[in-house]
C-alpha cells in the first residue's frame, strides 16, 4: 500500500548517502532504512495507531529542502524569540541548523550544546553510543525514517554536577517553501549525575505551508539528574507533525515534561519514559487544543521497572469544530516495582457536536503493593457555572471563553517558567472568542 512512498524515501536516502558517506552514523542509517522497508508505516490496524490515520502523510511525497535564512525577516524572528527569557537559542530552519540566528551564551566547562551536524564531527563516539538505545521493536516507521535521515538537530550533554541555569531553546521554524517538504530533526540530551537543565523544543510554522516534521528526541538521565522539558508545537495548520520523546531514567532522576499542542493538521506526540531505578519519577502535563479539522493524538507510556518510582500525569484537551483528539496513556508496573505511585488523568472538553474524542487510559500492573489510579472524562462546560456568570451579566460567548480558558489553564499554570507560561496563556486566549475581554479578566 505505501510502497510508493517508501521507495520515494529509499531513493532520497541513497541520494543523501552520497553526501554523508564518511560519517560515523552510516550503519545506524542503513539499518533504519532497512527496518522501514521491512515494517512500513503504521496503519490503523495497529492498536497504537487505532484512531490515527497517517495516510495523509504517507500519501504525499515530501522532499528535503533548504531555505535561505535571509528570506526570514528579522522582524519575524523578533516575534518568535523568547525575549523575556534569558536563554541559549539554537535555531533550525526547515530542519537545518542556522548558525547565524542562533545565540549561545557562556557555558560552564564541559557542557556541550551544539547542533548535531557539527557535534557528529567533534563527538562521534558519544552520539553513536547513545543513539543505539533504540531497539528495533520500539521503532515504528516514522522513528525509523527519522533515524535513516539523521543529520541535524541538537546535542546537549552535561558533565556530572553541571547546572545550567539558562534554559535552552531549540527553535524549529518551518515554511517558506513552495513544495511539500519533510524535516527529520533528532535531538539528544545526555545528563550525567546530579546535572540539571531546562530544554524547550518549539516547533513553529512560519506561514500556511504544507510540510512534515518528523522529530525524535532521546534523553538519557543518570543518577539524580533533573530535566525540565517543554514541547511547544505550533506548526502551520496545513502541516503534519510526528514527534516522539524517549527518556531513560536512572536512580532518583526527575523529569518534568510539558507538552502543548496547538497547531498542525495531523499531529502525533509520543512520550515514553523508562523508570529504570529506584526513586526515579516523571511528571507529565499536556494540553491539546484543536479546531477546524485538526487531528491531535497524544500517546504516553511510563514503565515502572523498579520499586519506589512515581509518575503523575495530567492531560487536557479542548476540541472544537470538526477536530478530533486522541489520548492514550499507558502505565506499566513491572513485576518487582513495589511501592509504585502512579496517577493519571485525562479530561476533555467537547465544544462542538462534530468534534470527537477517543481516550484510553491504560493500566498494566504486575505488582501488588502499588498505588495506581487513573481517570478520564469527556464533557462540556458546566451549565451551573455558565449560569452563574450569565447571571452576573457576562454574555454567553465571554462566559464560555472564560470557562474554556480556566479549563486549559489547569495545565498551563503548572509551567514554572514565567515568560513561557504568559506567552502560552496569551496564545490560548487568542484562540477563543472575546479574547481581549478575557485577557482583562484573567490578568
Amino acid at each position: 500500500m505505501n510502497s510508493t512512498v517508501i521507495k520515494h524515501y529509499v531513493d532520497q536516502f541513497q541520494h543523501l548517502q552520497k553526501e554523508l558517506i564518511s560519517d560515523q552514523l552510516q550503519a545506524h542509517r542503513q539499518s533504519a532504512i532497512e527496518l522501514l522497508q521491512e515494517t512500513g508505516f503504521p496503519t490503523m490496524r495497529q492498536e497504537n495507531w487505532k484512531y490515527t490515520d497517517v495516510r495523509p502523510i504517507t500519501g504525499k511525497l515530501f522532499n528535503t529542502t533548504t531555505v535561505d535564512p535571509e528570506k526570514i525577516s528579522t522582524e519575524t524572528f523578533d516575534n518568535l524569540r523568547l525575549h523575556e527569557l534569558d536563554c541559549h537559542e539554537l535555531v533550525f530552519i526547515n530542519g537545518r541548523y542556522s548558525a547565524g540566528h542562533s545565540i549561545l551564551k557562556a557555558l560552564p566547562e564541559g557542557v556541550v550544546i551544539k547542533d548535531l551536524a557539527s557535534a557528529l564531527k567533534d563527538h562521534p563516539q558519544l552520539i553513536a553510543e547513545h543513539l543505539s538505545g533504540f531497539s528495533a521493536a520500539e521503532h515504528n516507521g516514522f522513528s525509523a525514517l527519522n533515524t535513516a535521515f539523521i543529520r541535524d538537530g541538537a546535542l546537549i550533554c552535561l558533565p556530572p554536577n553541571a547546572v545550567i541555569e539558562k534554559p535552552i531553546n531549540l527553535l524549529y521554524l518551518s515554511g517558506l517553501n513552495d513544495q511539500p517538504f519533510a524535516s527529520h530533526p533528532r535531538n539528544l540530551i545526555i545528563l550525567s549525575e546530579n546535572s540539571q537543565v531546562t530544554v524547550i523544543e518549539s516547533y513553529i510554522g512560519l506561514n500556511d505551508s504544507d510540510y512534515f516534521t518528523n522529530t525524535v528526541t532521546e534523553v538519557c538521565m543518570k543518577q539524580n539528574a533533573h530535566l525540565q522539558h517543554y514541547k511547544i508545537q505550533q506548526e502551520s495548520m496545513q502541516a503534519y507533525h510526528i514527534g516522539s520523546l524517549k527518556i531513560t531514567q536512572a536512580k532518583d532522576s526527575q523529569v518534568e515534561s510539558h507538552s502543548i499542542s496547538l497547531g498542525g493538521a495531523l499531529v502525533r506526540n509520543d512520550i515514553h519514559s523508562l523508570l529504570e531505578a529506584e526513586g526515579a519519577g516523571i511528571r507529565m502535563n499536556g494540553l491539546y487544543m484543536a479546531t477546524g479539522k485538526q487531528h491531535v493524538d497524544n500517546h504516553t507510556r511510563v514503565d515502572h521497572m523498579r520499586p519506589h518510582t512515581s509518575s503523575h500525569e495530567i492531560y487536557r484537551g479542548v476540541l472544537n469544530d470538526h477536530a478530533r483528539g486522541v489520548f492514550n496513556g499507558k502505565v506499566v508496573v513491572h513485576k518487582d516495582a513495589q511501592k509504585t505511585d502512579a496517577v493519571q488523568s485525562n479530561a476533555n472538553l467537547l465544544l462542538s457536536d462534530n468534534a470527537e474524542v477517543d481516550t484510553k487510559p491504560e493500566l498494566e500492573i504486575y505488582a501488588d503493593d502499588v498505588k495506581c489510579a487513573h481517570g478520564a472524562t469527556v464533557g462540556q462546560l458546566d451549565q451551573d457555572m455558565l449560569f452563574y456568570l450569565r447571571s452576573r451579566s457576562i454574555d454567553e460567548n465571554t462566559a464560555k471563553s472564560l470557562l474554556t480558558f480556566a479549563f486549559a489553564d489547569e495545565v498551563i499554570r503548572r509551567i514554572n517558567l514565567d515568560p513561557i507560561r504568559k506567552r502560552l496563556e496569551y496564545q490560548v486566549i487568542g484562540r477563543l472568542p472575546e479574547a481581549d475581554l478575557i485577557r482583562e479578566f484573567a490578568a
Binding site: 457536536d353 468534534a355 470527537e356 477517543d358 500492573i365
Partner: protein, 482 residues
C-alpha cells in the same frame, strides 16, 4: 463470622465439590467439525431448513475468520477438530413428561449439584430449565409461566413450537458472523434457553438455568435468547458448575437479549466452571459473547456477573442503547487465583438520545492470576445527552498477580458526559491490623474486606445468588492470603 469461616473451611477441604462425573451413555458424535457434523446436529434436532442454512452460512463464514489474539490472555491453541460437537444423554430420546420418567442417575446428579427439582415448591419462585450437557431434560414451573403467557423452554423446543419468534430474533443482536466464537457457536450450537415475555407482563418468578459440562471432550455451545416485549419485565439467573477435568474444555456460548419499548431485562450470572488446579493445569476456556439490545424507548438491560471459575474467562456483556432514554448497566466481580486469567468488561454503545449507562467492575487477583478489565463506551453523534459513569477497581493479593485496565472511550457528541475512574490497591496492612486488633482472625478480616470491596455488585444479585457468590468468593481465594 465464625460460622461463615467454618463454612469456608469445609468447602475448601472438599476441593472442587462439583468435580464428579456421572456415567451415562452419551450419544456422542466423533470429534471433528465439517458441514456433515452440522447437518447431523440439525437433523438430530429435527430443525427446519432455514435454521440449517443459517448454521451452514455461519460455518462457512467461520472458516474465513481468524482466531482473535488481542485479549490479554495466554493459552495453548485450540484444535477445533478435536472437539466433539454433539453429546446428548441417550435416555432422552423419548422425552420424559414428568420427573418419574427421568433417568434416576440424572436426578442424582442434580441432587449433588443442589438443583432443587424435588424441592420446587419450597424454593418457589425459581423455575429451572436444567441443561445437562446439550439436551434439556426437565422443565419445571412451565404451567405457571404459561398462565402468564411467558414462554420459557429449551432452545430446541422453541425452534419446534415457536419458529416464528426464533426466526425473527435469532442472530438479530449477535449476528452469525459477529466474531470468531460467535460464528462457531452459530454453526454448532446444540441447545440453550429461549424466553419470551409478552406485552405488559411481569414475569411471575425469577427464571434460571444451570449449565453443566459433563461428557468429556465436549465443548458446550449454548444459545440463549431472551425477548422482553413492550412493557414487560424479567429477571434471569444463570449459574454454572463443571466437573473436574484435566483437558481444557471450550465453552463458547452466545446470549442475546432484546428489550422492546419500556421493557426491563435483568440478567445475572454466577460462573464457576472448573478453573484448573493450582498449577494451572486443566480448566475451562470460557469464551462467551453476550449482548443486550435496548431496542425500544425507555428500555433497560442490566448485566450482573460474578466470575470466579474458568481457566480463561473472556467475555464482554454489552448493551446497544438504541432506544431513546434507554439504560444499560454492568456490574461485575471477577476473581482470578492460581493461574486463572480473565479478560472481561463491557461495551456500552450509546445510539439513542438521553441514554444512560453505568459500569461497576471489581477485579480481584491472587496467586498468579491475571485480571483485565476491557471496556468500550461509545457515544455516537446522535446520542444527545448521553451519560456514562464507569468505575473499575482492582484488588491485588500476592506479588505475582496482575491487574490491568484497558478502557476505551469514544465520544462524538458535545452534550455527552463520560466519566471513567479506576484504582488499584491491595488489602492494606493498616486495614488488617485494625480488624485483628479487634479480635477478628486474619482470614475473617480478609473475607470481610473482600466482601466489602464487592458489595456494590453483590447487592445487584438476587438473594440466593448473593449468598452463593459470597461463598464462591471465599473458596476461590482460599490460600491466597498469607
Amino acid at each position: 463470622m465464625a460460622t461463615k469461616s467454618q463454612d469456608v473451611e469445609t468447602l475448601v477441604k472438599k476441593e472442587y465439590a462439583h468435580g464428579f462425573v456421572t456415567e451415562i451413555d452419551a450419544d456422542t458424535v466423533a470429534p471433528g467439525l465439517n458441514e456433515d457434523v452440522i447437518r447431523l446436529i440439525s437433523h438430530k434436532k429435527n430443525e427446519p431448513e432455514w435454521l440449517l442454512e443459517w448454521r451452514l452460512k455461519a460455518y462457512r463464514h467461520w472458516l474465513t475468520m481468524e482466531e482473535p489474539k488481542w485479549a490479554h490472555v495466554h493459552y495453548n491453541p485450540i484444535d477445533f477438530q478435536e472437539i466433539s460437537y454433539y453429546s446428548a444423554p441417550k435416555s432422552t430420546n423419548d422425552a420424559p413428561k414428568s420427573l418419574d420418567e427421568v433417568d434416576p442417575k440424572l436426578l442424582e446428579t442434580y441432587e449433588k449439584l443442589g438443583i432443587p427439582l424435588h424441592e420446587q415448591k419450597m424454593l418457589a419462585g425459581v423455575a429451572v430449565d436444567a441443561v445437562f450437557d446439550s439436551v434439556s431434560v426437565a422443565t419445571t414451573f412451565k404451567k405457571k409461566l404459561a398462565e402468564a403467557g411467558v414462554i420459557f423452554c429449551p432452545f430446541s423446543e422453541a425452534v419446534q413450537e415457536h419458529p416464528e419468534l426464533v426466526k425473527k430474533y435469532l442472530g438479530s443482536v449477535v449476528p452469525a458472523a459477529d466474531n470468531f466464537y460467535a460464528a462457531l457457536n452459530s454453526a454448532v450450537f446444540t441447545d440453550g434457553s429461549f424466553c419470551y415475555i409478552p406485552k405488559n407482563t411481569r414475569c411471575p418468578m425469577e427464571l434460571s438455568t444451570y449449565f453443566r459440562i459433563n461428557a468429556s471432550k465436549t465443548g458446550q455451545f449454548e444459545r440463549t435468547l431472551i425477548v422482553a416485549d413492550e412493557g414487560s419485565h424479567v429477571s434471569y439467573l444463570e449459574g454454572c458448575t463443571a466437573p473436574m477435568r484435566d483437558e481444557n474444555q471450550l465453552h463458547a456460548a452466545v446470549v442475546e437479549l432484546i428489550a422492546l419499548d419500556n421493557a426491563t431485562i435483568k440478567y445475572s450470572t454466577v460462573q464457576n466452571w472448573y478453573p484448573g488446579d493450582e498449577n494451572g493445569k486443566g480448566g475451562i476456556y470460557n469464551f462467551v459473547t453476550k449482548r443486550g439490545d435496548c431496542r425500544g424507548v425507555n428500555s433497560h438491560i442490566s448485566w450482573t456477573q460474578v466470575e470466579t471459575g474458568s481457566a480463561i474467562t473472556w467475555k464482554y456483556p454489552s448493551c446497544l442503547l438504541k432506544g431513546d432514554n434507554s439504560v444499560g448497566e454492568f456490574y461485575s466481580v471477577a476473581v482470578t487465583n492460581n493461574y486463572q486469567q480473565a479478560d472481561t468488561g463491557t461495551k456500552m454503545i450509546h445510539l439513542g438520545k438521553n441514554t444512560r449507562s453505568t459500569i461497576i467492575s471489581k477485579g480481584i487477583s491472587a496467586g498468579h492470576g491475571q485480571n483485565a478489565y476491557r471496556g468500550l463506551v461509545k457515544i455516537s453523534k446522535n446520542a444527545a445527552n448521553a451519560r456514562n459513569y464507569t468505575q473499575c477497581d482492582s484488588l491485588l493479593m500476592g506479588d505475582r498477580c496482575g491487574a490491568h485496565t484497558f478502557p476505551y472511550i469514544e465520544a462524538r457528541n458535545a452534550s455527552a458526559q463520560v466519566e471513567h475512574e479506576a484504582t488499584t490497591s491491595k488489602i492494606g496492612d493498616d486495614q488488617l491490623f485494625y480488624c485483628m486488633q479487634r479480635g477478628i482472625a486474619e482470614e475473617d478480616a480478609v473475607h470481610m474486606i473482600v466482601n466489602g470491596f464487592c458489595k456494590e455488585v453483590f447487592k445487584e444479585l438476587p438473594m440466593e445468588f448473593a449468598v452463593e457468590a459470597q461463598k464462591l468468593l471465599s473458596v476461590t481465594l482460599e490460600g491466597a492470603v498469607g
